[in-house]
């Protein structure tokens, strides 16, 4: 394919740094590896007061991104709300998420949208405008099936989930199937780390649980472990660096990851790339896109008893853990940046070539 000049569109929340930022930068490097010229275009986004949300979307609409640096731009890749409001004839969507507070989170404690006429009207306008802008895109992809499901439900637009490998992909490898189960997570309620801890109260085997990650409820969890008398079997490691994390994955028997309604979840893929089985729950969301019960892990009821049974089974049989993990590896190894780059650029080239209204130079 001839090299394309590509802009990746990013909504920046000043002073907040997260996964989407890494995703966008990794996409840019992957495009460069394929010989394309890619740059990230960021525009700050603010959602308070919520009346400013439409103004922020309008800012993107005002930007003509068909030209940059004296040449035409062949393709733009939109990621989050409101980046897909930008104008370009070859706009391909790789949706990280929409403005969730106006969608599925509305009415929950995670959203500032309530059931007042004003909020309802604003939500309706946002969703309508979104649908219109999203329809302009010449290809529709999302980072995960959950995100695709939402866009179909609220905007009536079908899309394909296009998975990307986790950041550690190139470094993960299997080691021995050791005597601990690993959990890698931020210590927040929605991740249900307490459920993992309770599981080890029920588990009969001598397996330990190591929990890597930091978060706002660390103190509560430490107390919880103490109270259950599990201090010798369950350890909060806090934040660990990448080298240590790779080691922890390499040496564990299995990974336990049972959050509530995760979007995507790199942990599953990181476990699989380390050839370890994943124990998860029916309501864990994103993990279920990859974990198949009894094939590459266990999908349990979200209860300590059910999860403990899975832990017991794997602790009794390291060979079983290895064979499940091996099948997990086959799933995760298929997820490559090559595929992401090919699908996104292909979708962009299905339409006619870009001809800016006026020459770029």
């Amino acid at each position: 394919m001839t090299p394309l000049r590509i802009l990746i569109l990013e909504a920046q929340v000043p002073f907040v740094h997260g996964g989407a930022e890494i995703l966008v930068r990794e996409l840019a490097s992957a495009l460069e590896v394929h010989g394309h010229h890619a740059q990230v275009v960021s525009v700050p986004f603010t959602d308070s007061p919520k009346e400013e949300i439409l103004a922020g979307a309008e800012a993107w609409r005002l930007l003509d991104v068909t030209c940059a640096g004296g040449g035409s731009i062949d393709l733009v890749i939109a990621t989050k709300f409101p980046t897909y409001f930008a104008r370009h004839p070859r706009k391909v969507l790789w949706l990280v998420h929409q403005h969730r507070a106006a969608y599925e989170l509305a009415g929950t404690r995670f959203s500032d949208f309530s059931h007042t006429p004003r909020d309802i009207a604003l939500r309706r306008r946002l969703i309508e405008a979104d649908s219109r802008m999203l329809r302009e895109c010449v290809g529709h992809f999302t980072i995960a099936r959950t995100v695709s499901d939402r866009m179909l439900r609220y905007n009536g637009i079908a899309s394909e989930a296009l998975y990307n490998p986790p950041k550690l992909a190139g470094r993960l490898a299997a080691g021995p199937y050791g005597d601990y189960v690993l959990t890698v997570t931020r210590l927040e309620h929605v991740k249900r780390v307490d459920l993992a801890i309770d599981t080890f109260q029920k588990a009969t085997s001598g397996m330990r649980l190591l929990i890597a990650g930091e978060g706002s409820i660390r103190h509560d969890l430490a107390e919880h472990i103490e109270r259950l008398g599990l201090s010798d079997r369950v350890t909060l490691l806090g934040r660990v660096d990448d080298d240590r994390l790779v080691e922890l994955y390499a040496g564990c028997r299995a990974v336990l990851f049972a959050p509530y309604q995760e979007d995507y979840g790199y942990v599953t893929l990181e476990a699989f790339l380390s050839r370890k089985p994943v124990i998860t729950a029916h309501d864990s969301g994103g993990t279920l896109e990859f974990v198949v019960d009894d094939v590459n892990g266990y999908v349990c009821d979200p209860t300590p008893d059910a999860l403990a049974m899975a832990v017991n089974r794997l602790s009794a049989d390291a060979a079983l853990a290895a064979s499940l993990g091996e099948r997990g590896h086959a799933v995760a190894a298929n997820i490559t940046w090559d595929n992401v780059v090919e699908r996104l650029t292909e979708a962009g080239s299905r339409t006619h070539r870009v001809r800016p209204a006026q020459p770029c130079a």
Partner: protein
């Protein structure tokens, strides 16, 4: 304080103004502030200038993630269109083609009715935005003069050290003159190449930088049979550039009406004399003829004579360069941040 530095950035292009904003963010962080840059893409196309200004106007940057942002520092057109209760401008430049470059070959504005209206509109809107700002300082006396002249705003220049400041050193006075510039018309590299053609002494020319004129300049060099004397080193950053500064006989910097120009100060920090022109703008705030450099007419013959003078007298090059280093040494980031945040 939580501070955002607003930048207008052209994708696929890196220039002095990007470095300016990046350095400011880094320096604010060094002093304990929580600083970040925010950007919008800017492409400078005449028919979209107002849309791009309007896009900035749409942004209310008084909070981020429900926490207040204390100060917004705007840098160049159209960043001061952003909404914030406490805006400070550290002016790098306005949209020059609509202001002082109008009427020169460097502006795409004509004297058509619509272009005249657009220029007026930009000036009126700029002035209105400046009126919203808590304070306005500029990066040089040259930009201060322009904003006074066109928008009636009086602003003080606040000089800052160039990005290479920490890496520059003196490594003797070699056999080449150095040019560091984007290869764009305003930088007048063609003038320097024509000057080298007239230089009697066997001095070479090394040109660091890239840009839209590169092929054309290389062709001109070949046509003048200067292939053996002129080297296009391409786009370089950091230590390789510092090394070239260290070993040069002197630095030639002859842009047309430059705003500020890091090159002058970078040359001085490497104890190198600067050859510039009477119409170069910013460099003239620092270069004094016969004191720390040579100021010529913007003509090839005049520049050539200056180059020959340095080539014939390395002690002169050294004396001028050392005097330049004294000047550049007084410019610090502490001074800048004090002036900006008050």
């Amino acid at each position: 304080m939580r501070i955002v530095v607003a930048e207008a950035r052209a994708p696929f292009v890196r220039d002095g103004a990007d470095l300016h904003a990046e350095s400011l963010v880094a320096q604010l962080r060094l002093r304990g502030h929580d600083a970040e840059s925010v950007t919008l893409p800017f492409n400078g196309r005449k028919n979209e200038l107002l849309e791009q200004a309007c896009a900035w106007r749409m942004l209310n940057l008084s909070t981020s993630n429900a926490r207040p942002i204390d100060v917004l520092i705007a840098t160049r057109f159209p960043t001061w269109f952003a909404r914030h209760p406490r805006k400070v401008v550290w002016l790098i430049h306005q949209h020059r083609a609509a202001y002082e470059l109008f009427g020169t070959p460097y502006s795409d504005f004509t004297d058509s009715e619509s272009d005249i209206q657009l220029r007026e509109r930009i000036a009126v809107l700029d002035s209105r935005m400046f009126a919203e700002c808590e304070r306005i300082v500029t990066n040089s006396r040259n930009t201060a003069k322009r904003i006074e002249h066109f928008n009636g705003v009086s602003a003080r220049p606040v000089y800052h050290p160039p990005p290479l400041a920490g890496r520059l050193r003196d490594g003797g006075y070699g056999n080449y003159m150095l040019v560091v510039a984007r290869l764009e018309p305003l930088k007048r590299i063609d003038l320097v190449i024509r000057a080298i053609a007239r230089v009697a002494s066997p001095v070479r020319l090394v040109i660091v930088g890239d840009g839209s004129l590169r092929t054309k300049l290389e062709r001109e060099t070949a046509a003048l049979n200067l292939g053996h004397r002129v080297t296009f080193a391409g786009p370089l950053w950091g230590d390789p550039v510092a090394d070239l500064y260290a070993g040069a006989l002197g630095v030639i910097y002859a842009p047309f009406d430059e705003d500020y120009g890091y090159v002058t100060l970078e040359a001085f920090l490497a104890a190198k004399p600067v050859i510039t022109t009477t119409d170069a703008g910013g460099p003239l705030e620092f270069v004094r003829d016969g004191d720390n450099g040579l100021v010529c007419e913007p003509e090839a013959a005049s520049l050539a004579a200056a180059i020959d003078k340095l080539a014939a007298d390395r002690a002169l090059a050294e004396r001028l360069g050392r005097a330049g280093r004294q000047v550049a040494g007084t410019i610090t980031w502490d001074g800048v941040i004090e002036q900006l945040l008050g």
